[in-house]
Amino acid sequence: MARKVSTRRKLVMSAIAWTLGILIFFPILWTVLTSFKTEAEAVASPPSFLFFHWTTENYAQVQERSDYFLHFMNSVVVSLGSTFLGLLIAIPAAWAMAFSPTKRTKDVLMWMLSTKMMPPVGALIPIYLIFRDGGLLDTRTGLVIVLTLINLPIIVWMLYTYFKEIPGEILEAARMDGASLIKEIIYVLTPMAIPGIASTLLLNIILSWNEAFWTLNLSASKAAPLTAFIASYSSPEGLFYAKLSAASTMAIAPILIMGWFSQKQLVRGLTFGAVK
C-alpha cells in the first residue's frame, strides 16, 4: 500500500517537474522553431507549431550578412578572460575573508554586493570616458576588464560561501607541516574547493556570455561579441523575427551546449552546502 502511494507520488512529482521544465524551456524551443520559418510564417496567427514549411533560409541570410565567427570568438575570449581574471582575484580575497575574518568582513561583503544594486547605466558615462582616454573602447581587453569588475562581487560571494564550508583545521594542519600561504591555497584549499570553484566558473562564463549592457555600449565593430550580433537583427520597424530567432539560436547554442554538458557540476555546486 505504502509503495503504491509512493509510485503515484513519484508520478505526480515527475509530471510537475516535466511540466515546469517544458514551461521554462518552451521560449527557447519556440525561438529555435521560429528560426526555421519564413518571416510571413513567423508572424502568422494562429501560429503553427511543427507543421510549417521548414527552411534554413534565415541561417543562410544571417551567415551572409554577419561575421558570426568574429562575434563568437569575441564572446569566448571575453567570457573566459573575465572569468579567469575574476577567479584569480577572488580566490585570495575569499580565502582571506573565510579564514581570517575581521570585524569588518561582513560589511566588506555587503559593500561589495551593494555595487550590484546600482543600475549600470548610472556608471556608463564615467566608465565610457575612462575607456575613451585609455584607448579601451571596442577592445577585447576593455570588455574583459569591465566584465571582471561587474562579476567580481558574485564570484567573491560564491567562493566565500564554499570556503566557509571547509574546516579551517585542515589548513592549519598544512601550515603546521610548513606549507607557505601560496602553497596552502594552491595545494590544499583549491583541490578541496574544486566543486565550488568549478560551479562559480561555469556560472560566470554564462553571466559574461549573456551580459548585454556593457558589451553593447563599449564595443563597436572589432570587439563586438554575440550580444551585438543579436542586436543587429532586431528592428522596431520591419519584420525580422525569423532572422532574429536564427541569430539568437546561433548565439545561445554554444552556451546552451556547455550548460548541458556541465549540468551535474553546476547543480552540485549551486546546492553545495544547502542542507547543512
Binding site: V43, N217, A228, S232, P236
Partner: protein
C-alpha cells in the same frame, strides 16, 4: 633584371595597396531593409573609391540611439558616419556635434531633396545630415472590406468617416478589426501616432511659453476619440501593439485600416510577406472637422558626420554616394525600382518606372508634401517637430506620457486621469529642465 623589375613592381604594388586600404570608415546604422541593401551594394562604392574601406555596425534602433548618443556626447570618435533620425539632427547640430555637409561634391543634387525633408535636416539653411530614406504617415486600408461594407474611401478622409467605417467593418467573430493603431508605450511608438492625431485635432504639446497643454479640450477630444475607437473597433490587447505587431496583424488580414508610417506600404503590398498584398488602398492621414492639419508626421533616417571624426572628407564621399540619385539607379538596376529607398528625392516621384513599381508612390509623396515640421500644430508653438517635439527632453517625457496613454487604452485608467497624469509629469519635467528657456 626582369626579376628585379617584377619584384620592384610587386613591392610597390603592395605598398600602394597598403596605402590604399589605409582609411577605414566605421558606419553605425539601424537594422532595416534599405540599410541592409546598402551594405550589400558597397562594392560599387569601393570600386569607385579604392582608398576607402567600410566597416558596419548594425544595431536595433533604440540600442543604436543610446550607443551613438553616448559616443557623440563624449566626443569619442568611434564612428565616422552615424545613422540618425530627424529628431536628433536639429538638436545635435545646435550642440555643435555634427559637421555641416558642405563637401558632398559638385554633382550632388541638393535641390532635388524633398523640401519637407531637407528642412528637417537643415539648421540655418545648412545641411547637417543627408536623408537616406524618409516617411510620413498615411492610411492603408483593405479595398475588399470597404467594398463589402459598401464604403468608399475618400482620398482626404475626416476622422468621423474613419471612425464610422472602422465600426462597420469590425467583425469580431471572424477576427476582423476595423482599425489597428499603435498602443505600445514609447515616444517613438504610441506617442508618434497620438501626437500626430492630436496635431490634427488642433492640439499641441506646449503653448508659446512652454506650458504643457494636456488640460486643453483638444487633447481630451483626441484621446477620447482614440480610446473609444480602439475599444469598439480595435484588436484585443492593442495597448501592447507597436509598428511590427500591427504590421503582422494587417498582413494576415486582421485589420480593415492601419494608419502608420508610409514605409509600411512597401511591406503590406509585398506578396511574399503579405496575404492582402493585392487588396490594399491608400489615403492621406485624416483631418478633423474644418481643420486641415494632417498630423505632420515626418521621419527620415539620415547619414551624418560626427564632429569628432578625423575622416570627414572620406565620410562625406560615402554619404554623397549613398544618398545621391545615382544610388537610386543602382538599387533599381540590381533589385528593381520598388526597392529604392523612398521619401527623399522629388525625382523619384516623377519617375514613371517607380510609379509603376510602387502603387503607393503617389500617396506617399502627397503625405510627405503635406507635412510641415516648422509649423506642426494649428495653434502657434515654440518648437519644431511633428509626431515628436524636437527638444532633448522629449524622449523621457514622451515615453512617460506614452505610458499614461497606453494605460488609458488598456482601461487601467480613464482618459481624464491619463491626461491629468500627463499634464502633471510634463509640467514637472519641463520645470526641472529649466523651461521656459531664453
Amino acid at each position: 633584371m626582369t626579376l628585379k623589375t617584377i619584384l620592384l613592381g610587386a613591392v610597390s604594388a603592395l605598398a600602394f595597396s597598403g596605402l590604399a586600404s589605409a582609411e577605414t570608415l566605421t558606419i553605425a546604422t539601424v537594422n532595416n531593409g534599405d540599410m541592409i541593401r546598402m551594405q550589400k551594394l558597397t562594392d560599387d562604392f569601393k570600386a569607385k573609391n579604392p582608398g576607402i574601406d567600410l566597416e558596419w555596425v548594425t544595431l536595433e534602433e533604440n540600442v543604436l540611439r543610446q550607443r551613438v548618443t553616448t559616443d557623440i556626447a563624449t566626443k569619442s570618435g568611434q564612428y565616422d558616419i552615424m545613422t540618425i533620425g530627424t529628431y536628433e539632427v536639429p538638436i545635435w547640430a545646435k550642440q555643435g556635434w555634427l559637421l555641416p555637409l558642405d563637401n558632398l561634391g559638385a554633382k550632388y543634387d541638393q535641390a532635388d531633396l524633398l523640401p519637407a525633408i531637407k528642412d528637417a535636416v537643415s539648421v540655418d539653411g545648412k545641411l547637417y545630415a543627408a536623408p537616406f530614406y524618409g516617411e510620413s504617415a498615411m492610411i492603408m486600408y483593405r479595398k475588399d472590406l470597404f467594398d463589402k461594407a459598401g464604403l468608399k474611401m475618400p482620398e482626404n478622409p475626416k476622422w468621423d468617416f474613419i471612425a464610422d467605417a472602422a465600426r462597420k467593418i469590425t467583425d469580431k467573430g471572424t477576427e476582423t478589426y476595423g482599425i489597428c493603431l499603435r498602443g505600445k508605450a514609447g515616444w517613438g511608438e504610441n506617442m508618434a501616432f497620438i501626437t500626430a492625431l492630436a496635431n490634427s485635432f488642433g492640439g499641441r504639446w506646449f503653448d508659446e511659453n512652454w506650458k504643457a497643454q494636456f488640460d486643453q479640450p483638444e487633447w481630451k477630444q483626441a484621446l477620447s476619440f482614440y480610446v473609444n475607437l480602439m475599444k469598439d473597433a480595435g484588436p484585443p490587447g492593442a495597448s501592447s501593439n507597436g509598428f511590427n505587431e500591427n504590421l503582422a496583424l494587417f498582413q494576415t488580414g486582421k485589420c480593415g485600416m492601419w494608419i502608420d508610417a508610409t514605409v509600411a506600404a512597401s511591406f503590406v503590398s509585398n506578396p511574399k510577406e503579405s496575404k492582402v498584398a493585392d487588396k490594399v488602398g491608400y489615403a492621406l492621414f485624416p483631418t478633423s472637422g474644418e481643420l486641415t492639419n494632417h498630423g505632420n508626421w515626418l521621419w527620415a533616417w539620415n547619414l551624418g558626420v560626427p564632429a569628432g571624426t578625423k575622416k570627414a572628407e572620406a565620410a562625406q564621399k560615402f554619404i554623397s554616394w549613398a544618398t545621391d540619385k545615382a544610388y537610386s539607379e543602382l538599387v533599381a538596376s540590381k533589385d528593381g525600382w520598388a526597392n529604392v529607398p523612398p521619401g527623399t528625392r522629388t525625382s523619384l516621384y516623377t519617375n514613371a518606372e517607380y510609379q509603376k513599381a510602387a502603387p503607393f508612390a503617389a500617396m506617399t509623396e502627397k503625405a510627405m508634401t503635406a507635412a510641415n515640421t516648422a509649423k506642426p500644430t494649428v495653434k502657434p508653438v515654440p518648437y519644431t517637430g511633428g509626431q515628436f517635439v524636437a527638444i532633448p527632453e522629449f524622449q523621457g517625457i514622451g515615453t512617460a506620457v506614452g505610458q499614461q496613454f497606453s494605460a488609458a487604452l488598456a482601461g487601467q485608467m480613464t482618459v481624464d486621469q491619463a491626461l491629468q497624469g500627463a499634464q502633471q509629469l510634463t509640467s514637472r519635467e519641463m520645470a526641472k529642465a529649466g523651461y521656459p528657456k531664453k
